[in-house]
């Protein structure tokens, strides 16, 4: 269904108006939301990189024009960052991340979840329930890792909706050898079982190829990350968030090419000493609950308040693409184990018992990207991020790093209070910076 088909366009001659069906209404809501956010991203900022147009168009095509991203391939839905893309690609399918950011979907999803639960989980469920998302119809199977309680429990809800759900067991402790072994078994089993869904066996050669392809994508992302270290900041964080969001569903190779083009442009900008933000604009590290299109509320607010996000520590962007697989011997066993390690050991998801890695990572990002402060977003109801807030705040304080903790959800309201906080934070960073200078 495209925008043109919406019954909102009344046939004035006949003077009849068809009342929208539930599905049409939902599609319209989603399109409106997507359009509005895209508008904000594109039009409220000047000097957007030209090569970002690809990504703007991708989102518009997907959510406004309802174009399916993958026509010819089987789609495997994934619920979290821990599901290895490489293996799914090697089995001849395409992984699509089912994490969703639509308020409209969250409203639908509220039916299935307690009131005080996480917006992201609600929205993801809502998306699956309404089934209007262009890739929902094609999903062969949804792989649901046992990360946080809410995601874990949604497995049964999704099953009730009629989806084929694969529970992938993730250990809650990642430091222990038992945890590592447990997860490796999960991944090995997954690799083997995928054949039943896709009909294609994961072979040594294919897996090696897909590791290469994903690595290539990661490399182009990394290149941009390196460039973002430049002062002044050559690109705004909202664009990078949008681009990495496209990794959720886009064709891997096309995405990589687009990222390469973006990288080229940013490189030129760095050479030109182009400044995407103001001269004294504070540089922000974003962390916490993932901003997923179109819920880019907080990143947009930050950058509208004259700060620039230079790096992030979220599972929709940096955590998704940062760590790469390295293999010593290109055998299936070694590759699968290597993939398992990469998705478990380096993961800074707060579901794990300890969050030491995340603390170190944030401090390091702060140093590496020459940042001025950290913004910590937590979706109301996301217990793990809410819980970790204290320990992260403590570590950051020990290191003299200012942090703003924001509890939020997908609702478009409360922006007045949020923007006050963000602006106040940015102002305090500015005055701090002034003083340090």
């Amino acid at each position: 269904m495209t925008v043109e088909e919406f019954p909102i366009k009344q046939d004035l001659k006949k003077k009849v108006r068809k009342i929208e069906t539930g599905e049409q209404r939902h599609v319209r809501h989603e399109a409106m939301e997507a359009k509005e956010v895209l508008n904000e991203i594109v039009n409220h900022f000047s000097g957007n990189p030209e090569s970002m147009d690809y990504f703007y168009e991708r989102f518009e095509a997907l959510y406004c024009d309802r174009q399916k991203p993958h026509d010819d391939k089987k789609v495997i839905g994934t619920m979290c960052v821990q599901i290895p893309d490489e293996i799914i690609y090697a089995a001849g399918a395409v992984p699509v991340r089912m994490c969703n950011g639509f308020y409209a979907d969250e409203q639908v999803g509220s039916e299935f979840m307690p009131a005080k639960s996480c917006s992201l989980v609600k929205a993801s469920l809502g998306m699956l329930k309404s089934g209007t998302n262009p890739y929902c119809d094609d999903v062969e199977m949804i792989v649901n890792p046992t990360t946080c309680d809410q995601k874990t429990k949604t497995g049964s809800v999704m099953r009730d909706m009629g989806y084929d759900v694969y529970d992938m067991e993730l250990p809650p402790v990642k430091e222990s050898e038992e945890g590592r072994e447990y997860w490796r078994r999960s991944v090995r089993k997954f690799t083997k079982n995928l054949k039943d869904i896709t009909g294609e066996k994961v072979t040594r050669k294919k897996l090696k190829q897909t590791i290469g392809k994903v690595a290539k994508a990661q490399h182009s992302y990394h290149r941009i990350q390196q460039l973002r270290k430049a002062v002044p900041a050559p690109v705004l964080g909202k664009d990078i968030f949008l681009a990495t969001n496209a990794f959720f569903f886009d064709d891997l190779e096309r995405w990589t090419e687009a990222m390469d083009r973006l990288g080229d442009e940013i490189e030129q900008r760095v050479a030109d000493k182009h400044n995407a933000a103001g001269v004294r604009t504070p540089r922000i590290i974003f962390t916490g609950s993932p901003p997923i299109f179109p819920n880019l509320k907080i990143p947009l607010m930050i950058e509208q308040a004259d700060a620039v996000i230079v790096a992030d520590e979220t599972c929709s962007s940096n955590r998704l693409l940062n760590d790469m697989v390295s293999v010593d011997e290109w055998f299936l066993y070694d590759m699968v184990d290597a993939i398992a390690d990469r998705y478990l050991k380096s993961c800074t998801c707060p579901v794990f018992t300890l969050n030491e890695d995340r603390q170190r990572r944030l401090v390091e990002l702060y140093k590496m990207y020459n940042a001025d402060g950290v913004v910590y977003q937590s979706f109301a109801g996301c217990q793990v991020y809410e819980l970790e807030q204290r320990s992260i705040a403590k570590i950051l304080e020990e290191n003299g790093i200012p942090m703003l903790y924001i509890e939020t959800d997908y609702s478009p309201s409360q922006s007045g209070q949020l923007s006050t906080r963000i602006e106040a934070f940015v102002e305090s960073l500015k005055s701090r910076k002034r003083k340090l200078a």
Binding site: P402, E407, G416, T420, R421, E423, A424, E427, S431
Partner: protein, 273 residues
């Protein structure tokens, strides 16, 4: 002589301040916000200018803050109320010592701000979405008990029995809870004291998130309520620093910000010249 004005447009009231370049307070004014924010603000602004004997053109820099800060088209600069509050408190609280922590209870929010020794914001915390424990809650309570807001302090100190335990600190539910307490035989004084203590507890919890150091500065409209001040001091076991005009601290800070930015611009222009 340059003059600077600051307007703090809150959810309930508009606060205005005019200062000179020595940061001396020339005059201040408080008006209701209403729905036509810009119109009401500009009227109050003109009134104030008339009071202090200045023309609009005498004001070098007009800085706005508060929720409605972006609604004033003639503003030279907008800053967030937290930064403004910190600036104002640093100046106004100077008589008590170095202000390191600020509690601000406004019409619909409560803020706690911690400053470093130079008066820069180190950390701050705000109440979440609901209006529990804010000025609005006091308004509701006073209305339900059929007393004026100004009388709250008096009632607080007249409470003879144990303060009533007020649990639901939600402004919306306050009404039903207070009626329930009245029905339960509590006197109005006890209820007022109970309300104060519950707000005090909530405020202190928020303040602890940013840390309580040295001089604890309390401003915002409710700071005029001696009963609430006493309740917070009792709960905290520490004396609060209350300015003479606690309502206008934030507007005062906004004016100071205007002064600083203006001075900075002048010096920059001079350097360039």
């Amino acid at each position: 002589m340059n003059y600077y004005a600051g307007i703090d447009i809150g959810s309930t009231a508009i606060k205005l301040v005019v200062i000179d370049e020595e940061q001396n307070l020339l005059g201040s004014k408080v008006a209701a916000t209403g729905a036509l924010v810009e119109k009401n603000s500009m009227e109050a602004y003109n009134d104030l200018l008339k009071d202090v004997g200045l023309k609009e053109s005498d004001i070098s820099y007009l800085t706005t803050t508060g929720y409605g800060r972006k609604l004033i088209s003639s503003a030279d600069e907008t800053i967030s109320e937290i930064t403004a509050n910190a600036l104002g408190a640093k100046r106004m609280g100077a008589e008590f010592g170095t202000v390191r922590t600020i509690i601000n209870i406004g019409g619909q929010d409560t803020k706690a701000i911690s400053l470093d020794e130079h008066g820069t914001v180190v950390n701050f915390a705000m109440n979440d979405r609901c209006a529990a424990g804010t000025g609005r809650f006091l308004d509701m309570a006073a209305r339900n008990l059929e007393i004026s807001v100004e009388q709250l302090g008096e009632f607080h100190f007249n409470a003879k029995g144990t303060p009533a335990a007020v649990n639901a600190t939600c402004a919306v539910f306050a009404e039903s809870e207070i009626i329930g307490l009245l029905g339960g035989g509590h006197s109005r004084e006890e209820i007022v004291a109970g309300v104060h203590f519950s707000i005090a507890k909530r405020t202190i919890r928020l303040t602890k998130r940013v840390g309580i150091k040295d001089v604890l500065y309390f401003d915002g409209g409710p700071a005029l309520n001696k009963g609430l001040v006493a309740a917070i001091e009792d709960e905290l076991g520490k004396e609060l620093a209350i300015p003479k005009t606690p309502q206008v601290t934030t507007a005062y800070g906004a004016a100071i910000q205007g002064l600083e930015v203006h001075t900075f611009e002048i010096s920059e222009a001079r350097e360039q010249a």
